[in-house]
């Protein structure tokens, strides 16, 4: 799975460089998040600016990662989403996960809010 990471203060921005985030690459995503956690990154922003399609398997591994992050660092971890297009947002709304995940318009806004909340 192609990703790009960059650190901003204590927050790690993980940009997913796949057009389709689906059952084919979902297992790789779990490995990526495990590596991030092993490196003590507990504030993670998933940047979806390159992603055009996700399926329920991808949504499932995002939920799994969200649980891991929320439980990390004595409950101080966080997983946020940003730059989600209308298609992906429609799936989040359909499942109501838009009311669970913190979702921001872009990574700058997400970094600002997560940094201020620490």
């Amino acid at each position: 799975m192609k990703i790009q990471t960059r650190k901003s203060d204590s927050t790690l921005v993980v940009t997913i460089l796949e057009e389709r985030f689906d059952a084919t690459c979902a297992p790789d995503f779990i490995v990526v998040i495990k590596e991030c956690l092993a490196d003590n990154n507990v504030q993670i922003i998933l940047d979806f600016s390159h992603v055009d399609f996700i399926d329920s398997t991808a949504l499932g591994v995002i939920i799994k990662s969200f649980k891991w992050l929320r439980q990390a660092d004595d409950g101080n971890g966080e997983l946020a989403l940003c730059s989600v297009n209308n298609k992906i947002m429609s799936l989040l709304q359909l499942t109501r996960m838009n009311r669970v995940f913190p979702i921001f318009s872009d990574s700058q806004e997400a970094i600002k809010v997560l940094t201020e909340s620490k």
Binding site: R20, D22, A23, T24, F53, D55, S56, T57, L59, G60, V61, I63, K64, F66, K67, R70, Q71, N86, K87, S90, L91, L94, T95, R96, M97, R99, V100
Partner: protein, 146 residues
Amino acid sequence: MSSQENYYLHLIIPSDKEDSRLIGRAVYSFCLHLGFDDVQSYQIELATVEVTHNIVGHAYNNCPDCMVELHAQGLDDRIIFTIIDKGKPADLTFPPCCPIDPNDEIDALPESSMGLYIITSVMDTVEYEVYENSNILTMIKYLPKS
């Protein structure tokens, strides 16, 4: 789409989740061509991909040597999908896990089994039958009235 014209799409793919991308991309383009918007076309694509994943994972138990067949017929006011496999018949009796209750404990959030909910939410009609040795799923989506 001009009146009285029918459009057809017929695909047969190997039972491999990676190949569900072929169905997804073809269905998305087909839906756009018939007049669905971008988000509607994505949701219909997603429903067909979820069906394909269920067939590959459950009906064929991830065996890649089988086939998944999709027919799509575009009419003036609707699109009709028929997806056929020859694997184990589906168990449609388990309770839906979605939509989630945002007030639930975080541990209660589902990590799988959301496909059936997505399929039935997106499509206007979903029917499933087993005929001879084939499992036949028929789904209909109507075009929004303009």
